[in-house]
């Protein structure tokens, strides 16, 4: 794993976790940044982890999420290539 990917993964995990921790709505739904959540998932290759219950999560976008290269870092492809 490259250092860059590791940094992105950590940031993604922090963002996703921050979403979980701050944003319960009136209906109990929890806003979570979609891309950050997915990136955190992709960096998990554990044999022992249990799945995350996504039923109570509401995925939200953040500025830049629509960038076609938004996942290039975790996919290992060259941005703009």
């Amino acid at each position: 794993m490259t250092r860059r990917v590791r940094r992105v993964g950590l940031a993604a995990l922090l963002v996703a976790t921050a979403g979980l921790g701050t944003g319960c709505g009136d209906d109990g739904a929890e806003p979570v940044n979609f891309n950050a959540f997915v990136k955190a998932q992709l960096l998990t290759q554990s044999e022992t982890a249990e799945p995350v219950d996504v039923n109570a999560l509401v995925f939200q976008a953040a500025p830049g999420d629509d960038d076609p290269a938004a996942f290039d870092d975790v996919l290992g492809v060259d941005s703009g290539g």
Binding site: V38, Q41, L42, A49, P51, N55, D66, P68, V77
Partner: protein
């Protein structure tokens, strides 16, 4: 900020290059039988189709049990050029239970790796090597697969205790100690594989089982689907006469192959000395997230998967998720574990299928509800036969019942007086469709509460032990993808059967 649905509709996400995400819901899913649930029909490589558990009836192997987990339904033999490799990004599991709590005590985990050899062939006057587009560049035989362009290998781990957190040990080849096994390529056709049976047979392994002084046997590969069913008419509001002849209808799977994970284990290993009854089931899991790669290449695959293993398929007894569990809960069942099956109990105690048969044909459904007889068959085990593996929908085999020689096996299993057959485990030759029809209408109940219980109900598609082999791996050589049958002529059978 856009809603989740709006986010999902963003152009980049909607287009392939965008992120096609398969977030697998953590709170739902598992599969049984062929394409039986909405969720699993989207991912056929991890769709468990049948599960068998029986005392080996091959001569000289009576002290073993055989476990078969079939995946990838409805394989057309000609389905090239990629055929039916198992999913590299999936975890296939066979679970055994012997402590009476419906929780796995032993799990076998199968993981697969595909290797593309990128074989080349000289092109043009100068013989420029050009990588080929197909599976093989010449015939493949036992002992010589140099012409094969794709090789699928796999490992098998044995996990004691919890399937995720338990202690993990490698199953190894008894011949050389290797922990990497080869899965024979699918039966492309008779020109590529002049003797497919011999080619596949070299991948039957004697294996060291951690904790067992006695080796087992292992085979993973394509087989002729042993399940027999009048599929189309059954799903078309049972568009046939369930009181007609037992062999008057075609088998919808007669021209279909399947991929089998097959283990043969010493009885003492399977039961771990905890009593004669062993429970079993199979599951398949995927990583919770999957992102489509907009720029796949030879080293970076078309998807990237990550997250916890998330169960998407579950199977023990045949037809349970298909005909017992309500449509809305089939994905939920596939994601669940046997220990939590109380949530589905109402579908067993008050089944809808007998009522449908009564409405369609006037054959009276049993009046005895709750259906304790079906609870015993599917959830608790039958008293005096195979109780003792906990409460949950698992396959139960009482290993103290001697195997019935193949020539004496009754296709109706216990209903036919053959205690070594379904629902005491399941053999490939047990006609579980006819058995299930009769059990659903009350074959195990007194006549005063099940007036149709003694009727010879059938789907019309006949199955018995003559449809499979008398020894390991029991399921027959798959049907070849070539040569093509003449118009109007059924594909050549792999042998035996009717």
């Amino acid at each position: 900020m856009p809603s989740a649905s709006k986010r999902a509709g963003a152009p980049y996400v909607r287009v392939a290059a965008g992120v096609g995400l398969a977030l697998l819901c953590a709170a739902a899913v598992t599969a049984s039988s062929h394409r039986e649930a909405p969720g699993i029909s989207k991912t056929p490589k991890v769709d468990g189709t049948d599960f068998y558990l029986f005392r080996s009836y091959e001569a000289g192997r009576e002290n073993f049990v055989t476990v078969v987990a079939n995946y990838q339904p409805l394989q057309a033999p000609y389905g090239g050029p990629n055929y039916f490799l198992l999913d590299e990004n999936a975890l296939y599991e066979i679970h055994l239970e012997n402590s009476g709590d419906a929780v796995e005590d032993i799990t076998f985990q199968f993981r697969f790796t595909n290797t593309v050899r990128d074989l080349a062939i000289p092109v043009g006057p100068t013989g420029v090597p050009q990588p080929i587009a197909l599976t093989a560049k010449g015939p493949v035989t036992a002992g010589n697969d140099a012409n094969l362009n794709v090789v699928q290998t796999f490992t098998v781990d044995l996990v004691r205790g919890d399937r995720r957190s338990g202690d993990r040990f490698a199953v190894t080849n008894a011949a050389d100690g290797s922990s990497v096994f080869t899965k024979p390529y699918d039966y492309v056709g008779t020109k590529t594989f002049p003797d497919y049976a011999a080619y596949a047979a070299q991948y039957v392994y004697d294996v060291n089982l951690p904790g067992s002084a006695i080796p087992g046997r292992l085979f993973v590969g394509q087989r002729k689907d042993a399940f027999v069913v009048n599929l189309g008419e059954t799903f078309d509001l049972v568009n046939n006469n369930p009181l007609g002849p037992e062999n008057a209808k075609p088998d919808a799977l007669a021209d279909a192959n399947v991929t089998s994970l097959i283990l043969e284990l010493p009885i003492g290993f399977a039961t771990q000395g905890a009593g004669p009854v062993v429970g079993g089931w199979t599951t398949a899991s995927l990583r919770q997230a999957r992102v489509l790669n907009p720029k796949p290449d030879a080293t970076r695959p078309a998807t990237k998967d990550g997250g916890a293993w998330t169960q998407v398929s579950r199977l023990a007894n045949p037809l349970v998720n298909e005909l017992v569990v309500a449509l809305k809960d089939k994905d939920r069942f596939n994601a669940s574990e046997p220990k939590d099956d109380a949530q589905f109990l109402g579908y067993v105690t008050h089944p809808s299928f007998p009522a449908i048969l009564e409405a369609l044909f006037g054959v009276a459904a049993p009046t005895a509800v709750p259906r304790d007889d079906l609870v015993q068959v599917f959830v608790t085990g039958v008293p005096g036969l195979n109780q003792g593996a906990g409460v949950g929908e698992i396959m139960r085999l009482n290993t103290s019942v001697a195997p019935t020689p193949v020539a004496q096996q009754n296709r109706l299993g216990v209903l036919g007086g053959d205690l070594a057959g379904y629902p005491n485990g399941r053999r490939p030759g047990d006609d579980t469709v006819d058995i299930s029809l009769r059990a659903a209408m009350g074959a195990l109940l007194p006549a005063n509460v099940a007036p149709a219980g003694s009727l010879p109900l059938t789907d019309g598609a006949f199955l018995d032990a003559s449809f499979v082999d008398a020894g390991f791996p029991y399921l027959r050589t798959p049907l070849p993808g070539s040569p093509a049958a003449a118009p109007g002529v059924a594909p050549a059978a792999a042998g035996g059967g009717k």
